[in-house]
Symmetry: C2
Subunit: 387 residues, 2 copies
């Protein structure tokens, strides 16, 4: 396997966009660039918030897919570990030294269950979600085969409309089955309301979370009535963490996007009606792109298209500029409206991507920049780990 810590193996402009020590101006584009000062401030701020509210913060590693960022979140933000969505992603974090890993998703395929059951051997507390009593026997067999323990969250669908059960009866039934199964331990509840995170209005988001919290509280009470302790109640995202933190029901957050920010999240409003990227969180995550053609007077063509980002949540926004606008995206090109003709070939623009998670997933490297210099280059270590 290629050693991603030995940058000397890599050629700038072929394998890798930059090397530490370079001027930021020399980064090969398109590249993912992190503003390290902004990133560190975001991480510290959320860490301080979680601590002040008595919440564990299990950061969502599926957002950045980076062991380096996860470790920074532990160091600066007091993160207790990570969650992620796939077993192969969890392996990257566990092999990378993260000691508490939740696969916040269902694992049903026999080969994947076998891999999951081996995760504790990397030294990681291993937790997985369950939404079907039929999954319990398979997980138990995997844990017994490898002589490990898999902890389980029962997943509640509290509005995301994907995985998860919807009744307290189902939660209790699955929790009992887990408690009765060798090699498994019932540890708590997964209840992430994903569908409301991107609603613009704070009040709209609160209304959705109030419903979710009531649903989760009912499940916790139902478990208690059966004498089943619920060590962790986990959920919350960048658009909702204050609701979970003040719920009296949740005790663990799972925020991801706060650390990087993106254009789609940035547009949602806080309780005072301000965009969350104008005070609450800073943009720390950019696609650096270059103008590579300006054959038409009013349009600059840049080198970041669909292969440098995901546009599922809208086009990128050009950071710090209101004189030019990214208006169209094709595979390898972006079209920037430049009515004033202010851009020249080789000019660089900082794009705030529409959606950070799938954008990180098309890049191999993060270039960490501070004071105009490349300070670090980190692999997107779980990139492509979709299994």
């Amino acid at each position: 396997m290629k050693d991603m810590t030995d940058l000397d193996q890599y050629e700038v402009g072929y394998d890798i966009p930059a090397k530490p020590g370079m001027d930021a101006a020399d980064i090969q584009t398109p590249a993912l660039v992190l503003d390290l000062d902004a990133l560190e401030r975001n991480i510290k701020k959320m860490g301080d918030y979680a601590k002040a509210h008595g919440m564990r913060h299990r950061v969502h590693g599926k957002m950045h897919k980076s062991v380096d960022v996860a470790k920074l979140q532990e160091q600066l933000g007091g993160a207790v570990g990570v969650c992620c969505q796939k077993v192969s992603e969890a392996e990257v974090f566990a092999r990378g030294g993260i000691k508490d890993v939740l696969v916040s998703n269902q694992v049903r395929d026999p080969a994947k269950i076998d891999r999951l059951a081996r995760l504790p051997k990397f030294g990681a507390r291993t937790i997985v979600c369950v939404d079907d009593v039929a999954n319990v026997a398979d997980l138990s067999a995997g844990a017994q085969k490898h002589g490990t323990q898999i902890e389980c969250f029962v997943e509640i669908d509290c509005g995301a409309g994907r995985c998860g059960v919807t009744t307290t009866e189902a939660v209790v039934e699955i929790a009992k089955a887990i408690e009765a199964a060798d090699g498994l331990k019932f540890t708590g509840i997964q209840a992430y309301q994903g569908a409301m995170q991107h609603m613009d209005s704070y009040e709209d988001r609160k209304a959705k979370l109030d419903i979710a919290i009531a649903q989760v509280k009912d499940a916790v009470d139902g478990l208690k009535a059966e004498g089943i302790a619920c060590e962790l109640v986990s959920g919350g995202g960048t658009g909702s963490y204050y609701f979970e933190s003040n719920s009296g029901v949740y005790n663990e957050l799972q925020c991801g996007s706060y650390a990087f920010m993106d254009a789609d999240y940035g547009r949602i409003l806080d309780k005072d009606g301000n965009r969350i990227d104008r005070g609450e969180w800073e943009n720390a995550f950019f696609i650096l792109t270059s103008v590579m053609s300006h054959a038409k007077a009013d349009k600059a063509i840049v080198d970041a298209g669909l292969k440098a980002q995901s546009v599922d949540s809208g086009l990128p926004v050009i950071f710090g500029r209101d004189d030019v606008e990214y208006i169209k995206c094709s595979d390898e090109h972006g079209v920037v409206m430049d009515k004033g003709g202010v851009l020249s070939v080789n000019d660089k623009l900082w794009l705030v991507p529409g959606h950070c998670d799938p954008t990180a997933n098309v890049h191999d490297w993060y270039v960490g920049v501070r004071n105009g210099k490349v300070e670090t280059v980190w692999p997107v270590s779980a990139r492509g780990k979709a299994y």
Copy 2:
């Protein structure tokens, strides 16, 4: 560097979705799967067409980003080489043994020009596009520095609205500058009408191509009037190649998507009003996905979301099924409407992605399948090569 030809280094389910010899049923999902029979038929069919029409076929490598697929296109389809969009992509193809490589795009950054000028040292004829006379001196300096020759196409914007000049005067001016520059050779014209390829109606596409062909013919005539020979006139895609082939102006095609097909291209109509994926081309390119939750009676949740595909051109279509429908996509999940409750956990579905190029770009491997067995596993060798 990791040796992508030695599959024994890779763990199935962590680094790689499958190994040759496995049953297709055991492929770890989500995975990109190629139906090798369909792929070979597509490649041979386009090769036969090009040959019968006296056209060179320079296959578009930016679609598949795979040296293995490019070599298959040479062997079975008589391809003369590849085009691609970035210098780092071109390096992958040149290093991989492709002998004729066109960067069908502008290269302006000094470091990229330096890399481009080294490409002939890998044994590849190297061609690049130019749409600005100011680029000529830089390209010439790069070629002279490395003692190589860079061939140049002048790029005409014949409707795509991105790079390229729009007048015959500009074509002639740039061609003359190229001819006068040491280390460069004027080889022809790049004229790809990208904007019409996905128009459903054959007649609408023809109308756009008629305009493009007239524009290109005017440029070729203008060059001839100045005594400048135009060896190659290159362009054409899966939605237009018959127009270029019968134009009397173009002599080189650049088709890409025909080999794989995707849902968005498949919907366009041939001259008889039939979808092109119902006769003209076969679906050879799939995302294999598994059901990993079915907690709601009418919805199956599958494991292929935004990190397994690009949805810029619409959601994927479930191949060969009209009883279930992929209706929603989030980062790691797809929601499949299953009104009849016909799906079970661990069932596999074959998705035809909306757009093949950026979908290939999120995967590391192609799994080639024939008769229900994994026959080959090919790296997506230029994945992430966006520089």
